[in-house]
């Protein structure tokens, strides 16, 4: 028990130091040049953070999902792009770990991931599906021997060029219906990525997520047996919404801290004078409090629901509503907190080169409502609310 607690605390401490000493000093450059945060990811590899969620018997750190969420928050606080890359990787690892069941190949893969600190990216979105992750156009087709092959048009692949492996959603066979999907893992050397665009964007610039045509040929054992519909409901969707939200919360916490430092500095310059910025700051704190509460209660509910071996609650429509709601609420609150911090700091917050700059925070946070568009999630929720009972 103590050994486990130590492991969790050690990882969190190491990640906190990487965030402060590596991610934070390079955050502005990563943002300005829209370049991959390679120093921070290298440092995370160095402390085996990429395999932290993998069970110890497969060579991983065996830490809890809660600790990973806390790491996402710490990284997001210092560099949104680093936090998001880390979060996306951990979502893929969590997905594999939680659906290992009948797939011995994936066990050996996780052992290899732990040893080599391999970084996984995901290829879930697809051109032509209207942003619906639950449908695929691309399909796994037969290739030589026991191999399978696919070609997928992906509008964005986060850090695609920097990943060692890709986790891709596909129709099970060329004859399968759009909703009959599986997840396939392809190694970089089994995959070709043909870029179809650039990544010159408003925020989250360091995630380097242009579009690609993804082509791969893989042995059939590299396809998860569990259907994607189950993988998505029980793991990928809630884990994504929770870890993304922790990154957005981290970004918001830092924007708030900067606004608070600004107000303190102002009050020292004019002691005893009324300070309108302080009132605005208290409004921002109110919003930040709501964001913290939503993020931490969703994490607790997910972890509690995951203790049930059947993960019954996560498969229900009410469960889907719960975590969809988190995504909408957290992504919108984070933008509001960052915009509020900008209101507090005024022109020194608007400038990109002051200790109170919050432009990067605001721009990074603005990616939240678009990653799986909130409009699309609202549409889904509208249907679910017709039938779910306790919402």
């Amino acid at each position: 028990m103590t050994a486990i607690a130590d492991r969790e605390a050690l990882l969190l401490q190491a990640v906190r130091e990487i965030a402060r000493d590596v991610a934070s000093p390079t955050a502005d450059e990563v943002d300005r040049q829209a370049r991959f945060p390679s120093e921070a990811i290298a440092a995370l590899r160095e402390c085996s953070a990429l395999s932290a969620l993998v069970p110890p018997e497969l060579g991983g750190g065996g830490v809890s999902f809660q600790t990973i969420a806390a790491c996402c928050l710490e990284l997001g606080r210092c560099c949104g792009a680093t936090g998001m890359v880390f979060a996306m990787h951990q979502i893929q690892v969590a997905t594999i770990v939680r659906h290992l069941g009948p797939d011995p190949w994936f066990e050996s893969y996780l052992a290899e991931l732990s040893e080599q600190q391999r970084l996984i990216a995901s290829v879930t979105s697809e051109i032509g599906t209207g942003g619906d992750m639950g449908r695929s156009i691309a399909a796994l087709g037969p290739a030589d021997g026991d191999n399978l092959t696919f070609e997928k048009q992906a509008p964005t692949v986060s850090y695609g060029e920097h990943a060692d492996d890709l986790l891709t959603t596909l129709r099970r066979t060329p004859e399968s219906e759009p909703g009959d999907q599986v997840v396939a893992l392809s190694r970089r050397e089994q995959t070709t990525l043909e870029p179809t665009g650039t990544w010159d964007v408003l925020g989250m610039r360091g995630t380097c997520s242009p579009g690609f045509v993804v082509r791969a040929t893989i042995p059939s054992e590299q396809v998860l047996t569990t259907p994607f519909a189950r993988v998505a409901a029980e793991s990928m969707v809630p884990a994504s919404h929770i870890l993304w939200s922790h990154v957005w919360l981290g970004i918001s916490e830092d924007a708030f801290d900067r606004a608070r430092s600004f107000v303190r500095a102002s009050s020292k310059r004019a002691p005893g004078q009324p300070l309108p910025a302080a009132n605005r700051l208290s409004q921002v704190l109110g919003r930040l409090g709501l964001l913290r509460a939503e993020v931490s209660s969703a994490l607790a509910e997910f972890c509690a629901a995951s203790e049930d071996p059947a993960r019954e609650r996560l498969s229900t429509l009410a469960g889907a509503l719960r975590f969809n709601n988190l995504k909408i609420a957290a992504s919108e609150q984070a933008v509001e907190v960052c915009r509020g911090a900008l209101d507090v700091c005024g022109i020194v917050g608007f400038k990109n080169d002051t200790p109170f700059s919050v432009g990067r925070h605001l721009r990074d946070a603005m990616s939240g409502p678009l990653m799986i568009a909130n409009e699309r999630i609202r549409e889904t929720n509208a249907g679910l609310m017709l039938i779910a009972k306790e919402v």
Binding site: E177, E312, S315, I387
Partner: protein, 82 residues
């Protein structure tokens, strides 16, 4: 019961195939029922059988075939009778 279930799927499942060509155990999602359409099937079933599915039953595995739906309805009706 199974015919009433099939009628609800026929009317609301927006299946790309004729439900009559599928067996009671065939996977409706694999046959092309979307999650969106399945919500309408659930609503139609509540109406047709005058029951309410509790949240624990509102999940994919319960609505994946005619026979899994029948099992859920049987359980609900037994609960009412008991």
């Amino acid at each position: 019961m199974n015919e009433k279930i099939r009628q609800a799927i026929r009317d609301h499942g927006r299946m790309p195939v004729d439900i009559d060509t599928l067996s009671d155990d065939a996977d409706l999602y694999q046959a092309g029922m979307t999650s969106h359409a399945s919500v309408n099937v659930m609503l139609a079933l509540e109406d047709a059988f005058d029951i309410e599915f509790p949240d624990r039953m509102l999940q994919r595995s319960v609505f994946e075939s005619v026979s899994s739906i029948a099992a859920a309805l049987t359980e609900l009706e037994a609960g009412v009778a008991g």
